[in-house]
């Protein structure tokens, strides 16, 4: 057990060094959050009117967290795919290390960068007037839900990374899958005015569940509360169920795909 923990921690640290030294990956979790916050609140925020006239800035932060965490989880796919298509994976495989630590180390490094990303979003939120209104515990609970969701999604991205031929195609695949997931949701706009089909998808989208849960926990404007769909009525439970389900499905699948990819 100690050996396994050590293998995982050594590889986690190694991946963090990579993220720190790769300008693109680092800007995904540092510059992009600030940019998104400014763009959405100042450009789109001006034109979006919330039901009951809530503050768009207060509404937007949970959505921006969802958006940033979902899109930056692409880093898992790209990083893993880079390793798999380079010689370094053979080095790891010829060492007596715990096999799953390559995947676990990757997911933990991405969890840590997600924390950094969340902090930056939250700080830029505070600057534009967002406040968690229901105390420290509720605030932390909201972030915990987001990080758990982000961790679950990173296992899904791990699968994409293993399946793709190289870092570029991992990036492409990630874009195609993650952007609709992030945007067809209640993250940046209330779903009330979406076309019926889109609205149905958005209300059942896990991204919507975790966003609505955070809005509820933080006491921010949450138009989804008036929507009858079960996940919008029970967003905290729904986001937990989604995250657990994603993890339960994609962690074993990633392990399986990884074993298959590295066997010859």
């Amino acid at each position: 057990m100690r050996r396994r923990l050590r293998d995982v921690s050594v590889l986690t640290v190694r991946n963090l060094v990579h993220i720190r030294r790769e300008p693109l990956q680092l800007s995904d979790v540092t510059v992009q959050p600030v940019l998104f916050t400014l763009l959405f609140t100042y450009v789109f925020g001006a034109g979006i009117v919330l039901p009951h006239h809530g503050s768009y800035n207060a509404f937007a932060i949970a959505g921006l967290l969802a958006l940033n965490l979902t899109t930056s989880s692409m880093g898992t796919a790209v990083g893993l795919s880079t390793d798999l298509s380079s010689g370094v994976i053979d080095r790891f495989r010829s060492l007596p290390l715990w096999r799953p630590s390559v995947l676990v180390g990757r997911s933990l490094a991405d969890l840590l960068t997600a924390m950094l990303c969340s902090t930056i979003v939250a700080l830029s939120g505070v600057v534009i007037g967002w406040r968690p209104e229901r105390g420290v515990l509720h605030m932390l609970a909201g972030f915990a839900l987001f990080l758990f969701f982000s961790y679950a999604i990173s296992w899904y991205c791990a699968c994409l990374g293993i399946l793709s031929k190289g870092p570029e195609s991992a990036q492409g695949l990630g874009l195609i899958v993650l952007f609709p997931l992030a945007f067809v949701s209640n993250a940046m706009v209330p779903t009330q005015h979406m076309p019926v089909v889109l609205r149905f998808i958005a209300d059942w989208n896990p991204v919507s569940a975790v966003t609505a849960a955070a809005r509820q926990l933080w006491g921010n404007p949450n138009p989804s509360a008036t929507i009858a769909a079960w996940p919008m009525q029970h967003p905290v439970t729904a986001s937990l169920v989604w995250s657990i389900a994603l993890l339960a499905i994609f962690a074993p699948v990633a392990a399986l795909l990884y074993t298959r990819r590295t066997t010859d």
């Binding site: 050996r3 050590r6 293998d7 050594v10 590889l11 190694r14 060094v17 990579h18 030294r21 790769e22 380079s86 010689g87 370094v88 053979d90 080095r91 790891f92 495989r93 010829s94 060492l95 007596p96 290390l97 066997t263 010859d264």
Partner: protein, 321 residues
């Protein structure tokens, strides 16, 4: 005594390509085996199987006494590997690479750091130890890769084409490093497509082609097996009697060139041969510009054994092999 590396009847195919076709190998403890073959001969596949990175379709292999399939974990604890593609992490520094590998091999943090310092010094990388590997030259990268295989001082080492793509100076430097390793008692399997490299480093050489061992022995044995030395005589003027004068000294057919000035023939190399040939020609009134007895190179050996040259161009190189 049991061989440190042993393979019996290894077979491996990738789709329609047969990479290994019943390969047998044995490397006694403390010796260097050179596995010599052109690109695509199956060298890398053999190394991948012996280092647990691939599993054989048929056959079995033991390394340091452990089965490479059933006891892979134990094999991994006993080996150091330097693969053909650099397997060091480009984004980390040389030092970070070595420390990481030490930690993942079970060294304590302090020991891993101490070993990294030692290896950087041994491979003349101390100065660049904290630079990203991305900025290293090809030779530095290879040395780091070799160092990476030595972190735990493993008893068995695999070097897959350790000098391919290096400039001559780096190659010679690499050779001296490799020689020192065996001085320390390691057992080493080295693959190469350079015949001089096998000649220079290996105690025994296995020539492989199309996934099978086609000959084995010391460099000297392989050379003598394929017919010994070659005589080359250059005359000042063409002379009809030259061939008959040379006939008693040669072991095969004499091949004159078109202009009759140059004659070639296989000979058995022995001391004073060139002198006696010059004297015989002189006695027959034939003046010579040059007499040379060429020792066979392993290139000749390779050509004689396989019917094709050893170094194919890289475009024909097949990645999986």
């Amino acid at each position: 005594m049991e061989a440190m590396i042993q393979a019996h009847g290894l077979r491996k195919r990738f789709g329609a390509t047969v990479a290994l076709d019943g390969l047998d190998l044995a490397v006694p403890a403390g010796s260097i085996l050179g596995v010599l073959g052109p690109n695509g001969a199956g060298k890398t596949t053999a190394v991948r199987i012996l280092t647990t990175l691939a599993t054989p379709d048929e056959g079995s292999a033991r390394v340091a006494g452990f089965d490479v399939v059933r006891e892979a974990e134990s094999v991994r604890r006993s080996i150091g590997v330097t693969a053909q593609d650099a397997t060091v992490d480009e984004v980390l520094s040389g030092r970070q690479n070595l420390v990481m590998i030490g930690r993942l091999s079970g060294l304590r943090r302090r020991d891993a750091h101490a070993r990294a310092i030692e290896l950087l010094a041994q491979f003349e990388l101390t100065e660049s130890g904290d630079r990203m590997v991305k900025e290293y030259s090809g030779g530095m990268r290879r040395r780091l890769d070799l160092a990476a295989g030595l972190v735990t001082r493993p008893p068995v080492l695999f070097l897959d084409e350790p000098t391919t793509g290096l400039d001559p100076t780096s190659r010679v430097r690499m050779w001296s490093v490799i020689r020192d390793l065996v001085g320390e008692g390691a057992t080493l399997l080295l693959t190469t497509q350079y015949l001089d490299e096998a000649d220079e480093l290996a105690d025994r050489i296995v020539v492989i082609d199309h996934g099978r061992a086609i000959s084995e022995g010391t460099a000297a044995q392989l050379k003598s097996e394929t017919g010994g030395a070659r005589l080359e005589v250059t005359l000042t003027d063409a002379h009809a009697g030259a061939a008959s004068t040379l006939a008693p000294y040669v072991t095969g057919t004499i091949h004159p060139s078109h202009d009759g000035l140059r004659l070639r023939a296989p000979v058995r190399s022995e001391p004073g041969l060139a002198t006696r040939i010059v004297r015989a020609l002189d006695d027959a009134g034939i003046t010579v510009d040059d007499v040379q007895v060429h020792q066979p190179s392993l290139d000749d050996v390779f050509f004689a054994l396989t019917g094709h040259a050893a170094e194919l161009d890289a475009d024909n190189a097949e990645a999986a092999a």
